[in-house]
């Protein structure tokens, strides 16, 4: 029998029971959390691996055994790879810097030149650009897909290069991923493309002797380098490394071999287009000097629940400055960022100056031609402007806006502007000999469309001359 309370109790009895129950539950959750984190400390290092085929190019198949690496690799889909300078979306460089259209007149880069995107987009981007057409060789596939090593092994490297781009369209489907850098059996880093190994061999070095830390740079150097297609028909992908990795040694190499990428449509100068000498330029920087690899900053080690892995979302280190920079640089993230952006801003300003001067030099040589200057008279300045632009391009086409080697970038750009101005002086003398003393009035190339319209007659004249020959 219950005793009737004389008045209502302050807290009803059932509420006490519920409160006590909730407390027990809460402590239980806390205990579970502690136990989970205790368990993390002894995570078994045993992994159950799905065996992979020798030529497995589908990253999702690798992802079954290596989910963290796979998921971080997938994040290269996001286009926000570079903070600070470049707008989102495709990032049309020609619209941002219309001088480039003049610099590359006569070369396919005047059709389109966009901000680079992550590895995830490599196949989509190479098939989507108007620079690729029916005359493109299969060599352009080399760095775009992990399907390539299989096709090279099947058809032979020489035959692969000699084929057309279209020939392999149906067989190349996966973007840059696991097999490009890893051995599918042991997961060890390995060189899967012949270009780098051949360049090492010509220098008397053996790439298979590289240490693990060196490999964390060299797998990137399979593609993020300057290269050219050797031989009109063979299109053999070749690194111009025989004299060294500096822009001067590239100049020597190309002068020695006589290789020319195209003839400039306005100035008639023999031109070399640099690709993206990221590896070469970064060798001149302080990070490389101190033994820091590409992966140390672009794929930093990350810890997740007591498990260490390398972040495969290759992108600007500024996107995660904490793991990429602050492990060594004990400054605030704001300071790290400000430092990098200031270096990139300085380089950007120097690049813009060089672009302006180079464009003026090409136009002035073109004007000297219309005044009746002969090829013999113009040979010197044409050669010089080709070299100056190659110097500029060594920095311009490298990713990182000079950050990989700030001092070297500034030196090269200074030299590029210097050579271009020397070239303009000499051109001015030639124009004066033809009776023209006034400076050349610059055309309006303030937008991409105006610049493209401006070079159009030169392109047609070049085409007509080629047809007549």
């Amino acid at each position: 029998m219950t005793i009737k309370p004389p008045h209502k109790p302050l807290i009803p009895g059932w509420l006490l029971v519920v409160l006590a129950g909730l407390l027990v539950f809460g402590l239980g959750v806390l205990a579970s959390s502690i136990n989970e984190r205790r368990a993390e400390s002894k995570l078994a290092r045993v992994q159950f691996l799905q065996p992979l085929d020798e030529w497995e190019s589908d990253p999702a198949k690798w992802g079954v055994s290596f989910p963290r690496q796979f998921i971080s690799w997938e994040s290269t889909r996001d286009s926000a790879t570079r903070p600070g300078f470049l707008p989102e979306g495709t990032g049309d460089y020609l619209a941002q810097r219309p001088e480039l259209v003049v610099l590359w007149a006569g070369y396919s880069f005047t059709k389109a030149y966009n901000k680079p995107r992550g590895h995830y987009h490599s196949v989509e981007d190479v098939t989507g650009t108007p620079r690729v057409d029916a005359s493109t060789p299969a060599t352009c596939w080399t760095c775009k897909s992990p399907d390539v090593p299989r096709l090279m092994a099947r058809d032979g490297v020489e035959a692969f290069y000699a084929n057309s781009f279209d020939h392999y369209r149906s067989e190349v489907t996966n973007p840059i991923a696991c097999l490009d850098c890893h051995d599918p059996q042991t997961m060890a880093l390995r060189i899967s493309r012949p270009g780098l190994a051949e360049a090492f061999q010509r220098q008397g070095k053996d790439v298979t002797q590289a240490s693990h830390q060196e490999m964390r740079t060299l797998v990137c150097a399979q593609c993020h380098v300057e290269y050219y297609f050797k031989g009109k028909e063979a299109n053999h992908l070749t690194f111009p490394w025989d004299q060294g990795l500096t822009v001067e040694s590239f100049k020597q190499y190309y002068e020695r071999t006589g290789h020319v990428d195209w003839v400039h449509a306005i100035s008639g100068a023999p031109m070399i287009k640099m690709q993206h000498p990221d590896y070469e330029l970064s060798r001149a920087g302080i990070h490389a000097f101190r033994g820091v690899s590409c992966a140390d900053c672009h794929m930093p080690y990350t810890s997740e629940g007591g498990l260490k892995y390398s972040d495969h979302g290759v992108r600007s280190p500024l996107m995660n400055a904490s793991t990429a920079c602050q492990v060594c640089h004990r400054w605030s993230e704001t300071d790290v960022r400000a430092r990098v952006l200031s270096i990139q801003g300085t380089t950007r300003a120097a690049l813009s100056r060089a672009e302006r001067v180079l464009a003026e030099a090409h136009l002035e040589i073109g004007d000297a031609m219309s005044l009746g200057a002969t090829d013999a008279e113009l040979e010197g300045v044409r050669h010089q402007i080709g070299i100056a632009q190659m110097y500029w391009d060594y920095v311009a086409s490298s990713n990182g806006l000079g950050f990989h080697a700030p001092q070297e970038s500034a030196r090269i750009l200074g030299r590029a502007v210097d050579m271009a101005q020397e070239c303009r002086l000499e051109t001015q003398r030639i124009r004066a000999r033809k009776g023209e003393l006034r400076p050349l009035e610059m055309p309006d190339i303030s937008t991409k469309e105006k610049a493209q319209a401006f070079i159009q007659p030169y392109l047609e004249a070049q085409k007509a001359a080629a047809a007549a020959r």
Partner: protein, 194 residues
Amino acid sequence: MNLRERLFDTWRFMPGRQRTLLLLLLGALVGMGLYLVRISNFFSYLSDDPRACINCHIMYPEYATWRHSSHGRDTTCNDCHVPHHSVIAKYRFKAEDGMRHSAIFTLRMEPQVIRARPEAIHVINDNCIRCHGEQIVHTNLADHGRLCLDCHREVPHGRVHSLSSTPNAAVPPLDPVIPRGWMPGSPRQPGGSR
């Protein structure tokens, strides 16, 4: 009628079955509390044993680098990381830091790179001077607001810091939750004795 009596009324007029349930739950609460004390190695935090700091695995890099450094033989974590000018200051600092660490670790908010807070930096610097005071001759450096660690950057945790900077480091394992010797067949522990 005062508050205490009114609260007591709740208990007095509770139906018997509710009372039993409440008592059981209160018992569970006490038991769970003891269990928490056990699995969290609660009492280790009152000691100066560096193993208390690796109750959480994210401190493994700090432990491993300290253990292999010149400081690994004669100092403990607390020698540098808590103030020593008074016992009260020491335990107050420990309590504050400990609560913050456990909250962050439980909520999984730990950063990839652990860095000392400004308060902690001053505690560390004071402790450098506490032991090495006699060796500091060039006091003009310290007079200008410089810290010992501004130059001695690698002391003692090395150059590169992050949660993943010492993978597979050999650190002492956590003690098992069930005390050694309670189970007749419990696994042998490193060191040979049960």
